[in-house]
Symmetry: C2
Subunit: 217 residues, 2 copies
């Protein structure tokens, strides 16, 4: 059955790989599944046809036969559950890899989203300059803990898993802030993620789709 | 095998059910699994023994035989995967229920966490009064979409699932703000969640554990 995902017709980052379709492309590349992409405009995203697929009017969505689903973490998990390569076989190691998937989106990403909001939505507010360092420190408090846990390991728990895929993807959102570079082991962890052939294929696929389109974010 | 979870020795909410152990207790009650609770103090949470279980120094954790894991969403998913009652048998419906679990923690909860931070961490800042309505509106933009999707259904996608358990738990954090009451169908959805016998058992168990201990949050 053909897998079809949606992506921004014109990504706000101009193709830097930060839109969430990159996470799903990466997962599909890791497990070697071909996929098609249906681009969606910002206007179409808020219209009934897309809202029927994605109640929050975002991308990506995932369609395969009778299945239509949304939410990046769930799509990556579905891919990992259906194909070998992203979750360990050992049942306890599998549960821990899933823990890292949730930790990426529910523990590490929220302060990163808050920092993005502080920049994008409140950058022109009178409190912006004084407030930004407070929010950045909330990100650092998470990265301190993540860095301590990772130590000098290559990946968060044994072999590369969907947990690493999600964590690397979340940390990549911090690239422009320079905060990850304060943690050499996390910077090396990101570099290991980006060096994976599957990541590169995903990154260049979304870059090509955005080629020649101006960045708006 | 005995299931042991950790919870605050003294919950910051004094037992209002907002600490994340309530989500795990609720899941265990839904599937009828007994469990033990090991209370952890704020100090002990940041010490090596607990950090080995939970790299971010939080509660809850979950131990069962050889398995030790952290992160509420992952623990609830693990319980749902191992016991009947929280995920549908149909494979597509199961994927959609998991989508709602991730939507709860990665799409709906982040602006709610931001609102909590605005109140708890920045309530004394000079920008607090002007900024709070902006953050509350970010919560509303999600709830508008969630309310539209729920419509007059009882649960998000067919029968009650772990997706509803997580979404109700996330929305309960808004109780004091009054924002959920602006959406009668979401308020009724919350009330349906709270009316479940398993939720009540979980709520009163955590309340009893915090009885007589002063609220700090």
């Amino acid at each position: 059955m053909t897998i079809t995902i949606t992506a921004f017709e014109q990504s706000p980052d101009g193709g830097k790989g930060l839109a969430r379709d990159t996470r799903v492309r990466w997962a599909l590349e890791e497990v070697g599944q071909p996929y098609e992409v249906r681009p969606v405009s910002f206007l179409a995203m808020k219209e009934p046809a897309h809202l029927a697929l994605h109640p929050f009017g975002q991308i990506p969505t995932y369609e395969e036969g009778d299945l239509a689903m949304f939410e990046t973490g769930a799509i990556v998990f579905h891919i990992a559950e259906c194909h070998a390569g992203l979750l360990p076989d050992d049942i306890n190691a599998r549960a821990r890899a899933i823990a890292w998937m949730f930790a990426a989106v529910n523990t590490v990403e929220p302060p990163i989203l808050e920092l993005a909001n502080a920049r994008l939505l409140e950058g022109d507010k009178p409190w912006s300059k004084e407030r930004l360092p407070l929010v950045a420190d909330r990100v650092r408090s998470r990265l301190n803990q993540l860095s301590a846990r990772l130590g000098d390991a290559d990946w968060l728990d044994g072999a590369f898993s969907a947990g690493d895929l999600m964590m690397v993807s979340v940390l990549l959102r911090l690239r422009l802030s320079g905060i990850v570079d304060e943690y050499p082991n996390l910077a090396a962890y990101l570099a290991r993620g980006e060096a994976r052939p599957a990541y590169k294929r995903a990154f260049f696929a979304q870059l090509a789709a955005n080629a020649g389109k101006p960045s708006t974010g």
